[in-house]
Every structure is written in C-alpha cells, then in structure tokens.
C-alpha cells in the first residue's frame, strides 16, 4: 500500500503522519486522530454529515484524501467547541432543539460557521440556501434554521464572540 507523508494543522495542532494514499480525510480524522465528532453518513459527498472546515471553507471530508491536505488547516467540531462550554452556535442549537439524533450536527455546525463568518445577518432563505447541502433526517430543518438565526442575532449583538 502506498504511504504518503503529510503535515497539516488540525484544530490548531500540528500533525505529522504517514497515511495510506487511499485514506479519506474522514477516516484519518476519526480513526488516526480519534476525532470521532465528525460523522460519515454516505461516503459519496451528498449528505454533508462529514463536513469540516479546510482553511476556513466547508469541505466534505469523505471526498478528500488525507494525503491532499499537506499544509492545510482543518477544523472539526472538536475545534469549534470552546473549553468548558458551548459555542454561540452550539448553544443556539440546544436551545432551539435543532438536533434529535445528533448525527448531522457536526456538519451542520461547520456549514453554519462558514455562513455566519461570511454573512452576519442572513435571512431565512440565506440559511436554507447555505444548509441545503447538509441532510438532516430528524428535524425537518425548521429548528436548525431557527437556531442559526438566533446565533446570528446573538453574534451581532456581541461582536467579541466567535460563532
């Protein structure tokens, strides 16, 4: 099996690894780094459950190979979680009951994070557009839209906080 040496940053930490050329980023994060907060739902790039941030932009970790990530900065749900509590987005998801089984949540949070970084005052339609690439089988999206709206409002009111 071809092994490839790769150096990247994951959640602010330097990572140096030798990975099988065919290892997906999702498997690398979950199995090699133990970051199991990223979930794999379809492995063909449709469901969005495995969405992470690569250099600040959302990416499907099931469609990327770990070997492609040389020099990249990867952020997973673990990296979006402040020490000892919930982020503004996570708190809003909890308050609005924007998750049921929780399997899509990490990907939704990554997508919402990117949206709010680009557009601090999204309309409901903007939010629906942004999360249209993330499937949720439980919530019917209603409360996810509400949660992102609430988080956006809170972040606008307190510009010091991160999403």
């Amino acid at each position: 099996m071809n092994e490839v040496a790769v150096r990247l940053r994951v959640n602010g930490r330097d990572v140096t690894a030798s990975v099988a050329a065919r290892r997906s980023l999702a498997d690398f994060l979950r199995e090699d780094l133990g970051l199991t907060g990223t979930h794999v739902g379809c492995e063909h790039g449709v469901c969005g459950a495995c969405t992470v941030l690569v250099d600040g932009r959302t990416a499907r970790s099931c469609l990327l190979l770990a070997a492609q990530l040389e020099g990249a900065e990867v952020t997973t749900v673990e990296g979006l979680t402040p020490a000892g509590g919930l982020s503004v987005l996570q708190g809003a998801f909890r308050e609005c009951h924007a998750l049921q089984c929780g399997f899509c949540t990490a990907g939704m949070l990554a997508t919402a994070h990117e949206l709010l970084a680009e557009n601090p005052a999204p309309t409901r339609q903007d939010i629906r557009d942004a999360i249209a690439g993330n499937l949720c089988m439980c919530t019917g999206y209603v409360n996810i839209v509400r949660a992102i709206e609430l988080a956006a409002r809170r972040l606008r009111e307190s510009t010091a906080e991160r999403p």
Binding site: L35, T36, E78, T81, L86, Q100, C101, F103, T139, V142
Partner: protein, 795 residues
C-alpha cells in the same frame, strides 16, 4: 406534582451531541477489532452454483472468511415472526439461492474495511440466474416464478375479513367510488447506517454485541436461538443511535459478526455503507390498494371495501405486519360502519420490506384520504366539509372501529377546524381562484389521520392461530444513589427522541428533584438495563408503555423514601411529601430530611431503616398497557392501542414549464394528548412531516424489470433538503388519553402519515383544470410534466 413534565426543556443529551462527544456505533473501538465487509449478490434471483473464497482467505490482513454454507453449518436459521406452511430456513447469509440484488452471500473480517473489501474481490461465485419477480401483482399469479418453490406460491398470507353488513351497505348506497392506489418503496434512511460489533469470549462461550439495533429484546431472542447459546451468555449494548425510524434491525448482520468474531478470535465490526443501507436493509412496503367507498348522496360514507397487496420483498423476518397494522385503523378517523378487508402478503425478489416511520399507515391514509378527496370532487362538496360530515365525534370517544381498534380520545372535527383556521383556508381558496384566473396552478390539499401507538403482538394470532407473544409493555429502573442523586434506565434505547431528558423530567417530578439531578443511562445494556422481549424503540410506544414503566419505578422509590423519612421523623407516612430535594412533613415548615440524608440511611446507616424495610433505594418496574387484548372471537383485533390524530393543510404551486411542485405552506394541527416536553414534541412533528413530504415528492426505490435497484445512492434516491420544504407550521389540541399514565399519546410517526396524502390532494387540486387523478407517488417533476402534456392518461 408536575413541575417538570410539560415544560419545554432543552435536552440534556445536547451537551455531548452538539460538541462531537456522542458515542455512536462507529465511534466504539474494541481492542483488536477487525472490520467486516459483505459480498452481495448482483442478481435479483439466482441459484448459487459454486462459491470459492480460498483466495480471499490468503490475502494479508484477512483474519476470517465466512460463506453461506459455513454460516448454515455454524448457526441455526433466523426464526420468522410467523410460521410458514413449510419451513423456509432463513440463514444469516444466502446459502444456495439469492432472492434480491444485494443479498449477502459471504463475509470477510480484516484489519480494516478497505482490506476486507479488497478480499471480497477475490471471492468467486458462480450464479445461475433465475427469473426475477418484481411486481407484487405479478407475483400473485399462479405462473409466477417462485422465491421458494417448496412453498408452492409467493403468497405468505391471504385472508378476507368482513365486519358489519358490508354487502347490504353497498347494495343500499346511493353511489360507490372505486379507485386503485399504489404506494412506492421508500425509507426514512437514518443518517447513521446500521451495524454491529460482536465479541466472543471463548472461556465463557459468551457474546457481547454493540449495535444500533432498535429492538434489543426481540433481537436477543433471535441471537440466542441462532447461535445456540443461553440468553444469559449474551450481552447487547446500544450506544447513541443516529436515527432509526424502524429501519435499524437486521439480526442476520449481528450473527455474521458473531460467527466471524468466533472464527477470528477478535471483535468484529460491521457497518453498512450507504449503498448497502439503501439497497439491502429495509424499505417501507410498496403495495397496491383497491378501495371502494359506498356513500349516501349527502356525502355520508357507509361502507369501505379494501383489497390490500403488500410487497414484502424477501422479508421472512416480519412479513404481514403491513397488512395487520392497517386492519384496525383502515377507516382512518371516519365513522364507517361496515368494513371488508382482503389482505395479501407477497414475496418478491426485492430488498426486504420492514418497519419504517408510520409503518403501513401512510398508505392507509394515502388511499383513504385520496378516496375522500375524489368523493368530494364527485359530489361537488368542499373536501373539508365532507370530512367533517364523516368523522368520529368527540362525544363518541372511546370509539371502536368495526375491525376492533379503539380510538381512545380526541376531537377530530375540532382538529380539522383549527387547521383550516391556522392555514386560512377561506383566504387561500379565494387566492386560488384569483391565481387560476392568472393561469397559475395553485392547489390546496387537506389530509387528516389517526396516529396509532403501541403494538400488540397478539394480533398475529389472526394468522398463526396461536399466541407466541402479546401485549405492549416496557421496563425501567430508577435508583437513588448513595449520594442522593438519581440514575434511571429504560429498555427502550432512544434514537433521537430525547428520553434522557423526558425520563429525567418524569422522575424529577416524582422525587421532588430537578432533571439536573437525574442521570438517565444512554441507550441500552442488557446486563444492567431492565428489559422484556417486547423492549425496544419502536411502534411509537414511549407514551403507551415506557412512561408507565418509569413512573412505576419512580413511585416505588418515592414511597420508600417517604417510609424511611416517616420512620426517622416519627410521623405518619401519609404526612410526608417530597419537594425541593427533601422529604417534608406536610404543614410543618422546616421539618424534613434531605433525600441525600435518606440515601445515607438506605445504603450506609441501615439500622436507621424502618423495621423490615430492605436496604437500598432502587426499583424496577414493567408497565403493560391495559388496552391490549387477544383477538376477539369475531376476529376483531387491537393491533395498536392509543390513537393521536392530526390534520394537515398544504399549499402547492406547480410550474407548468417543468412540472415541479413547490410547497408553499404546510400547516399541521395535531393532538398527542398531554405533551411531556413540547419542545421535543414539536421537533418530532416537523421531522415526521418532512419524512412524509419526501415520500410525496422525491423518494422512491425504483427497480427495473430485472430486479435491479435504480436509485441506490443519495444522488438518485433524493431526500428533502432545506430548500425542498417550507417551515412547517404547527399547532395543537390536547385531549389526554385516559389509558396512559400521564395522558400522553404517540407523536413520533404522526406527520409521516397524512403528509403524503395532503400533498397528493394539493397537486390534484392544482391540476383541477386538467381533471387528472393522482393514484401514486412520488410527484416528481417528470411525472407531473407528463400529466400536463397528456392529462387524458391519468384521468
């Protein structure tokens, strides 16, 4: 006191689930675990002539290979839910014949999944293709190819039921509406796929399973029988479950893992990939229903006759359930005095059918509510008015349908009226008239439904003539720990329903604590969780059985706390109440003992206990819902027990150029009795409604004539995205059930039942100028566009 029950409390679970700290099946890593992959048949129907796996065994990294023949030698067949006239051994891997494309014939355990999949390519199988059986009506014909030649037919069950004077009612009716409806195969497709880890302890000859199986009680019975070990040597653990919706059950996969683990001497994990999930786990049954409504000129429906063909695919594990589960509620919410029902449960060479959110009722509702819409058209009545004329009235509750279901509570007319009001029905009818004047295709659809909860397995006696299992029950445990905090456990492993929160609310009220004081165990562990054969996360049963189990256990602990406090305070037990983490003497402020102090007595200072009181503060309780009963001598049947209801109003617009149906507005008014946590209830209504909208517009497992699944990825099998569905607007009535301990009723399935019918009715209404009749789903742009071009084909 109910300080917490009824509060819209955010969930306890979310602290871990929003931060990536949940523990789903694939997050469980057992020491030394191997990964399994399964080789699956490319043919829908074929004889397995030869299978050679020797090259796979030699691949480096492969630790065990299991073929169908080896599995048959090492285990017993999986017991079917109903006995068949001749034995049809159903092994965990296909042995000499495959009966759907995707049926597993061999499995490999290797150091990682990729190596296991590499090994599959080295297994050589020689198949002799046989003719597939794809269409259930064709499968009924005497000349059809047979899945099991020894059975002599593809029909697993056929029966005819009549309740009341059906023939007389049809003879006396002013008119009869006859129509044929079909429902497609679809599934709720939990985002986490199904799987298991099996570990074998050779010293104890015992197995441990980690799995997201949602029905552990029944699965444990099957595993013990098939592996030939006592149930005492099986342990089944359920971690966080990423959605289930009825789909997550396949004992065969657990058996494959167990046999591989025994062979390899290491734990073996198998988790479906999405292709395996969509093509081979479980589809909601497709089927055909012929419906006849006998009616009077004023719109009163006097009799219903149904012929219902259920396409089981290759389902031997749970066949006939799609028929049985409709029988009692086949009249939906209507007061129809005479009912005839003919059931066919038919095998075809397709993926096994099985439980999927709402099981059977979405088709019941689609057929009945479509028929009601057509009757309104025929009689030139408003569809709302026709329904209001025919509902069971609130004053008639509890109402028993002719086939025997008991509708326990609710106000169906008031539910629809509230929905019409919330939707602004009159306003939208006026807007529709204006839009039509402008050439726009705007449609309004109404559908209403009952939503049963709790399953009574006694109903299978109708088929088997004997009773193997019956009733509806669940078990729970509540324990005040020595530090005064509480631990609870439930035999029903949640898959997103928030039981850790709701159970904590219930227990907190009983013990005078807060939900923060109560830790509810995640999932299920057969070695510590109390459980029954009937235990599991299915059939909308939380309110019907689980709540009673939790309450029973909590009240036993509560009463013990009161007895200990009364003894120590030297007062009567009746004078002690629990509030604010204390046992207090009623009417004597300041006189009481902290629960923590009583726990110290119960566990440590046991000489302080009342005479004869055993140490400890733990209770287990199992609750059986009182409504279940055996099949009646008149063949009436209560297959389900407690009934919620809902009314959906839907507004659609169709694009003439593309045939695309856009959902503009969807209003749900539902009544699930007392809402234990309204935040969770509303979320379930949103989610289940969107399941129904997906079935209405997008989702279909399409097979070609050779039995190949054409929609086997999320690129072809389309799920609703945030852009496909509107904000679901929800309102509620609250008629508590007299037959559940807190008056709650089922809510998990409700939206999925009427939503497909509501959309279909709206689409037909939008196309009123063309006079088309909607007889099947999904209403994809392609189909609607064809109707727009050739409406005469679907009149």
């Amino acid at each position: 006191m109910t300080r917490w029950v009824g509060a819209p409390l955010p969930r306890k679970e979310d602290a871990r689930l929003t931060t990536g700290r949940g523990l789903y099946l694939d997050d469980v890593a057992r020491p030394g675990q191997l990964h399994a992959a399964m080789l699956r048949s490319p043919h829908a129907h074929a004889r397995v002539v030869a299978l050679d796996a020797s090259a796979a065994t030699r691949l480096p990294g492969v630790h065990a290979v299991l073929t169908g023949a080896e599995a048959a030698a090492a285990s017993r067949p999986i017991r079917p839910l109903i006995p068949t006239p001749v034995p049809l051994p159903d092994w965990c891997l296909a042995v000499d014949r495959v009966r759907y494309a995707g049926e597993p014939v061999a499995a490999v355990a290797a150091v990682d999944r990729a190596t296991a999949e590499d090994a599959l390519e080295r297994i050589h199988v020689e198949y002799e293709p046989l003719p597939p059986v794809v269409d259930p009506e064709a499968a009924l014909r005497p000349d059809s190819p047979l899945l099991y030649p020894e059975l002599g037919t593809n029909v697993l069950w056929h029966d005819v039921f009549a309740y009341g004077d059906v023939e007389g009612a049809f003879a006396r009716a002013d008119g009869v509406l006859r129509e044929r409806f079909a429902i497609q195969r679809y599934a709720s497709t939990p985002l986490e796929t199904f799987g298991a880890i099996a570990e074998y302890d050779a010293g104890l000859d015992a197995y441990t399973f980690w799995t997201n199986d949602q029905r552990p009680g029944l699965t444990l019975a099957i595993l013990a029988e098939s592996l030939g070990v006592p149930q005492a040597r099986l342990r089944l653990v359920t971690p966080d479950v990423g959605g289930a919706f009825g789909n997550k059950r396949r004992p065969a996969y657990l058996l494959v893992c167990a046999l591989l683990a025994r062979r390899a001497g290491r734990p073996v994990k198998y988790l479906e990939d999405r292709l395996e999930n969509l093509g081979a786990l479980m589809h909601a049954c497709n089927g055909v229903m012929d419906v006849e409504l006998a009616y009077r000129a004023d719109g009163t429906v006097v009799a219903l006759r149904v012929r219902d063909v259920a396409d089981e695919g290759k389902n031997l594990v749970s066949p006939t359930q799609h028929n049985l589960i409709k029988l009692g509620n086949i009249v939906n919410g209507y007061r129809i005095g005479a009912v005839a029902y003919e059931a066919y449960s038919v095998l075809t060479t397709k993926c096994p059918s099985g439980a999927n959110r709402g099981i059977g009722k979405p088709f019941m509702c689609f057929a009945v509510e479509r028929a009601m819409a057509l009757l309104a058209r025929r009689l030139a009545m408003d569809p709302a008015e026709l329904r209001l004329r025919n509902y069971v009235r609130a004053g008639e509750m509890p109402y028993t349908t002719p086939p025997g279901a008991q509708y326990d509570s609710g106000d169906y007319p008031a539910t629809l009226r509230r929905a019409l009001e919330r939707f602004d029905y009159a306003g939208w009818r006026a807007a529709q008239a204006r839009a039509r004047g402008e050439g726009r295709l705007l449609g309004i659809g109404i559908a209403t439904s009952v939503e049963p909860a709790g399953t009574n397995l006694a109903s299978y006696e109708l088929i088997t003539g004997r009773r193997a299992a019956s009733g509806s029950a669940e078990a729970a445990m509540v324990r005040v720990e020595p530090d005064g905090r509480v631990r609870a456990a439930l035999g029903d492993p949640a898959s997103g329903q928030g039981y850790e929160t709701v159970v904590a609310q219930i227990v907190a009220d009983e013990l005078g604590l807060t939900p923060a004081d109560v830790d509810v165990e995640r999932g299920f562990d057969s070695s510590t969780t109390p459980w029954l054969y009937l235990s599991g996360n299915y059939s909308n049963k939380f309110s019907v059985t689980d709540v009673g189990a939790v309450l029973g256990a909590a009240r036993a602990v509560r009463d013990k706390l009161r007895r200990i406090a009364a003894h120590r305070l030297e007062v009567a037990v009746d004078d002690v109440e629990l509030a604010e983490a204390e046992a207090r003497v009623r009417g004597v402020p300041g006189r009481g003992l902290a629960i923590r102090e009583l726990a110290r007595t119960a566990y440590a200072d046991v000489l302080g206990l009342p005479p004869g009181e055993p140490p400890g503060l733990e209770a287990r309780h199992a609750h059986q819902n009182p409504l279940a009963r055996p099949v009646g001598a008149d063949r009436t049947v209560r297959s389900q027990l407690v009934f919620s209801n809902a009314a959906h109003c839907c507004l659609v617009e169709i694009d003439r150029r593309t045939g695309a149906v856009r959902l503009l507005k969807h209003v749900v008014v539902h009544d699930c009795g007392r809402e234990l946590n309204p935040l969770i209830v509303e979320g379930m209504v949103h989610g289940s409604t969107v399941h129904g909208l997906g079935a209405a517009l997008l989702e279909e497992f399409r097979y070609d004539d050779s039995g190949q699944l054409l929609t086997a990825t999320f690129m072809d099998y389309l799920k609703p995205t945030a852009l496909d569905v509107p904000d679901i607007e929800v309102d509620r009535l609250e008629h508590p059930s007299p037959f559940t301990p807190l008056g709650a009723k089922g809510v998990g399935e409700g939206g999925s039942i009427p939503a497909p019918a509501a959309v279909a009715n709206a689409v037909e209404d939008a196309l009123a100028e063309l006079g088309v009749t909607v007889r099947s789903l999904p209403l994809t742009p392609e189909r609607v566009w064809r109707w727009l071009q050739n409406p005469e084909e679907v009149r």
